[in-house]
């Protein structure tokens, strides 16, 4: 060996215990779905089938909602916050104890690298349960009135990009505030949610407090339309979010939506360039770009465009794409064939509309769904790739001349979830922060998450906040 090639260092699958098929988790037990319909969940890195999953229909949903209602009336609403906290703490600790197993299962089912599931998804999920466990007995001091009251039964639908983490974002605050839950994980990534159901059993959580039903879009749609749901929380695409908002518009059901984004990462000429390059890489290639708050638009001050781009491309050439279970992999598989097709479609449009494409040279595996880290230069506001969410490892580079123009371009989007500002000048960062219309703004960093920090969007990026004190409000009746 003449060069320092990294030998494969895969995490072992031996720690996992994935069943061949899974039922629905209703009232504390795994039960067969009423119509016995099944679908498969696969490993997107090699297209191997991991398990058969039950497809819930209206009858199953009704069963789950009834279980949640009964648990709410008989047990959970009567329990003190202090007692609820004990369950949350127990769940958090179990997640930590089984962290490695969860990380491997998440990587298998989702395609994201083990480095991320191990260092981000799973520890953050546990952190959300710990954080909200702390709130459970202190709700009267959270600023929502003297006796904050839960909604009752909450329907929650989560996406496939951070399966367990999004489950934690949803279930932890709901339980802490005294709601019971019917949650539907995404069709392509149900495994960690089903593993979480086992954790609920292990933690002796009273039956019916958490119910997990699996299925496709039809299941989700039936769930939010169920008449006995007191609140809906959804994370996913803006398209589906609009449908949910429409279907709930006729009633009084409160809803929180966490939808798409087209985050702008603004790099000013005085930015710490090497760290800005890292931040841009992290902003768009973290989790294969399957991040609603991804920094998918790079706004570069024109006078540093060439220098910055050369640094960026060199850094992109060092990204390691491959086996998601390998501990040295930086970028894993695209979650599904459908998502890969969407990424291909949008990047073809970028080429057709005259932007210049450059992809990092990397070996694409024969099987599975993959897309090399890609950057488009010469992009303008009028390109589709500057306006539509790609949800893949594709970065669009635009330029600006003055700070005012940067803000104008950054805000010129129907979305408003995230933004990043890179500058060594504190006053400029604060000024930009005041003018950017985005729910989360990072300065000289990107994609930082903490349970104590509220997360959510402006405009078509969603309604409401998750995390922090603000996030609690979504699960308390009448809270603003």
């Amino acid at each position: 060996m003449s060069d320092f090639e990294y030998a494969p260092a895969p995490e072992s699958k031996a720690i996992t215990n994935i069943s061949k098929d899974y039922g629905l988790f209703i009232n504390g037990k795994f039960i067969a779905s009423h119509n016995k319909r099944r679908f498969e969940t696969i490993n997107p890195a090699n297209e191997e089938v991991l398990a058969k999953i039950s497809l819930a229909d209206e009858v199953d949903i009704d069963k789950a909602v009834k279980a949640a209602r009964s648990a709410y009336i008989k047990v959970w609403s009567k329990m003190s916050g202090k007692e609820r906290a004990k369950y949350l703490f127990r769940i958090a600790r179990l997640l930590q104890e089984r962290a490695r197993e969860f990380a491997v299962v998440e990587t298998l089912d989702n395609g994201k690298p083990i480095r991320e599931t191990r260092d981000v998804d799973i520890p953050l999920s546990a952190a959300h349960f710990f954080y909200h466990a702390g709130w459970a007995d202190k709700l009267e001091f959270a600023g929502f009135g003297e006796k904050p009251k839960a909604h009752g039964v909450v329907a929650q639908i989560i996406p496939w990009n951070f399966p367990l983490l999004m489950l934690a974002w949803k279930i932890a605050p709901a339980l802490a505030t005294g709601n019971t839950v019917v949650l539907k994980p995404a069709e392509t990534t149900p495994l960690t949610a089903l593993l979480f159901a086992e954790v609920c059993q292990q933690a002796d959580l009273p039956p019916g407090v958490v119910n997990i039903i699996t299925g496709d879009g039809s299941t989700g749609s039936a769930l939010v339309k169920h008449p006995d749901i007191d609140k809906v929380a959804f994370t996913g695409s803006t398209e589906v979010g609009k449908l949910i908002a429409k279907s709930l518009a006729v009633g009084n059901t409160p809803v929180t939506l966490e939808l798409g984004g087209k985050g702008a990462n603004i790099v000013f000429e005085d930015a710490p360039l090497d760290q800005a390059v890292e931040g841009i890489i992290n902003g768009i290639f973290f989790n294969q770009g399957h991040v609603c708050c991804a920094g998918s638009r790079l706004l570069l001050q024109e006078n540093i465009h060439d220098e910055f781009l050369s640094k960026l491309q060199k850094r992109m050439s060092k990204i390691r794409l491959g086996d998601p279970l390998d501990k040295n992999t930086d970028i894993g598989a695209i979650n599904s064939a459908a998502q890969l097709a969407k990424i291909h479609e949008l990047s073809s449009s970028g080429k057709a509309e005259g932007a210049n494409i450059w992809s990092a040279p990397c070996q694409i595996p024969n099987k599975g769904f993959w897309f090399a880290p890609t950057v488009f230069t010469g992009v303008t506001q009028a390109h589709r790739i500057a306006r539509e969410e790609i949800f893949g490892p594709v970065l669009s580079v635009l330029t600006f001349r003055t700070p005012q123009e940067a803000i104008e371009k950054a805000n010129n989007t129907p979305f408003g979830l995230s933004a990043g500002v890179w500058s060594d000048k504190g006053s400029r960062i604060l000024w930009a922060g005041n003018h950017l219309k985005a729910g989360v703004i990072w300065a000289n960093t990107f994609n930082k998450f903490d349970p104590a920090s509220p997360f959510g969007g402006y405009k078509e990026s969603g309604w409401g906040r998750e995390g922090g004190r603000h996030g609690l409000g979504a699960y308390i009746k009448g809270a603003k």
């Binding site: 320092f4 501990k327 960093t445």
Partner: protein, 315 residues
């Protein structure tokens, strides 16, 4: 050197050039270094890395208590780190105080270690607090005794008080003495410069003044060769190559004691500067205790068992 055209050596031109360098965000640099610290180096790549790390060591003794006997055992160890295994490469150099250079050179030559260079710390190491005259003489002495590598310290007092020209001139003066007789390693003593912005500036200052290597620390100050510091210096040599087409070496020293630490350094080299730097001509590790840990890990890889410390020689 073409990079020298960037400046004319005056205080103003130096300051102007160094001001054009982008800042370093400390949090970002620490984060990047931490992520690279999680790289998992196994089996064949670990074997390669251990041998490469051994051949990059500047095996060092810099103690008031150094004696001829101590220096001779160091040299023997440098040539044959593991007496039972001739396949173990020799180290990159031995690094000693000025007055020990002759002893080291003679002993190395007498045992067949002609190819191992002797590096001398010079210029009133470690503090650098002496007159220019003394520093120059210190360097001349070392070279005349057979040192082919000079590890000089910069005047941190001058750097921190903004006398950049002073620091620059001193490095150039030492470089002139070294000329083609000795390689010049410039020690920045990053533990005293404290900020990563300073580390980047001092790196450029040294490279512009003619350093062949930039070195983190004397080993007498902590913190020494931390991962973010080495990362910033590797970025500096990478970017300086773009400017000048000259590759400057990097030498972390101080605090690198385990195989794991050493491998993390090699990962930084590969992923920041690039594979071109992965050889003893362009990357050295200043260390003493590290060598035995590398040898023990090497035995473990070959035999599958951990041996006790009694199976490696103490010096």
């Amino acid at each position: 050197m073409s990079a020298l055209n960037l400046i004319d050596g005056s205080e103003t031109s130096l300051r102007r050039f160094l001001q054009t360098l982008p800042g370093v965000d400390q949090v970002g640099a620490q984060e990047r270094a931490a992520v690279l610290g999680t790289r998992s180096i196994k089996t064949t790549s670990k074997k390669w890395a251990i041998d490469m790390a051994i051949s990059m060591i500047d095996l060092t003794t810099l103690e008031g208590a150094d004696t001829a006997g101590k220096i001779r055992s160091l040299c023997s160890k440098a040539l044959r780190p593991d007496p039972q295994d001739p396949l173990v490469p020799h180290v990159g150099a031995v690094c000693v105080y000025n007055d020990m250079v002759g002893i080291a050179r003679n002993h190395l030559d007498s045992i067949g270690g002609q190819s191992i260079p002797v590096a001398a710390v010079a210029t009133a190491f470690p503090s650098g607090r002496a007159s220019r005259k003394v520093k120059l003489q210190d360097t001349k002495d070392a070279i005349s005794l057979g040192a082919t590598e000079i590890d000089m310290v910069i005047d941190r007092g001058a750097f921190l008080s903004g006398q950049l020209g002073e620091v620059f001139d001193e490095i150039r003066a030492i470089k002139e003495i070294c000329s083609d007789k000795a390689h010049l390693k410039v020690i920045l003593e990053t533990g005293e410069l404290v900020t990563l912005d300073n580390v980047r500036k001092a790196s450029y200052l040294a490279m512009l003044a003619g350093a062949d290597f930039i070195k983190t620390s004397t080993g007498k100050v902590t913190p020494a060769a931390t991962a973010p510091v080495v990362l910033v210096m590797l970025e500096a040599v990478r970017d300086f190559f773009e400017l000048s087409q000259v590759r400057i070496g990097v030498k972390p020293a101080g605090g690198i004691r385990t195989t794991k630490d050493a491998i993390k350094q090699l990962v930084l080299v590969k992923e920041i500067a690039g594979s071109e730097w992965l050889n003893p001509e362009l990357f050295r590790i200043g260390a003493s205790a590290l060598l035995n840990d590398l040898l023990m890990q090497r035995m473990k890889l070959n035999t599958g068992r951990y041996s006790s410390a009694n199976y490696v020689t103490v010096d």
